[in-house]
Symmetry: C2
Subunit: 84 residues, 2 copies
C-alpha cells in the first residue's frame, strides 16, 4: 500500500497526506521543513489543480518520496475535461 497511482491532483494530494501522517507530521511542521505555509500544504493535499510543481516537489522531498512516470496500466475512461 505504499505505491499509489495518481492520475489527478486530488489523488496525489491524498497520497501525500497519508504519507505525512504516517511520518507523524502535521501541516505546520511540514510547512517549516519546506518553507511553505500551512495553508499551502492544505491546498496541495486537497488537490488544488493550480498548485505549482515547485510546491509539489518540495513537499515530496520533505516526505522522502519520489514519483514514477509511466504509461497507463489499465484502461481508463478519463478525459482531459473531467479531470478538474
Amino acid at each position: 500500500m505504499n505505491e499509489q497511482i495518481a492520475r489527478t491532483p486530488k489523488q496525489i494530494g491524498a497520497a501525500m497526506r497519508r504519507r505525512r501522517r504516517a511520518l507523524g507530521l502535521n501541516q505546520k511542521n511540514l510547512g517549516e521543513k519546506t518553507h511553505l505555509r500551512q495553508a499551502t500544504i492544505s491546498g496541495l493535499e486537497a488537490g488544488e489543480a493550480g498548485t505549482q510543481l515547485s510546491t509539489l516537489f518540495g513537499v515530496l522531498t520533505a516526505l522522502h518520496m519520489e514519483l514514477v512516470v509511466r504509461p497507463r496500466t489499465k484502461a481508463s475512461t478519463d478525459t482531459i475535461e473531467e479531470l478538474f
Copy 2:
C-alpha cells in the same frame, strides 16, 4: 525504460518529452489535445518549476501516462533548496 523516476520538475519534463516523441507527437499537436499552447508544453518539458498541476496532469492524460507516488527507493543527498 518506460518507468522513469522523477524527483524534480526537470526529470518529469524530460520523461514526458520522451513519451511525446515516442508517440510521434509534436508540441503543437499535444497543445491542441490538451487546450494548452505550444509554449506551455515547451515550458513543462523544460522543467519550469512554476508549472501547475493542472498542466501536468492534462499532458499526462493526453500521453496516456500516470504517476506512482512512493517512498524514495535509494538514499539521496537531495535537499529542498537545491531542487530549484
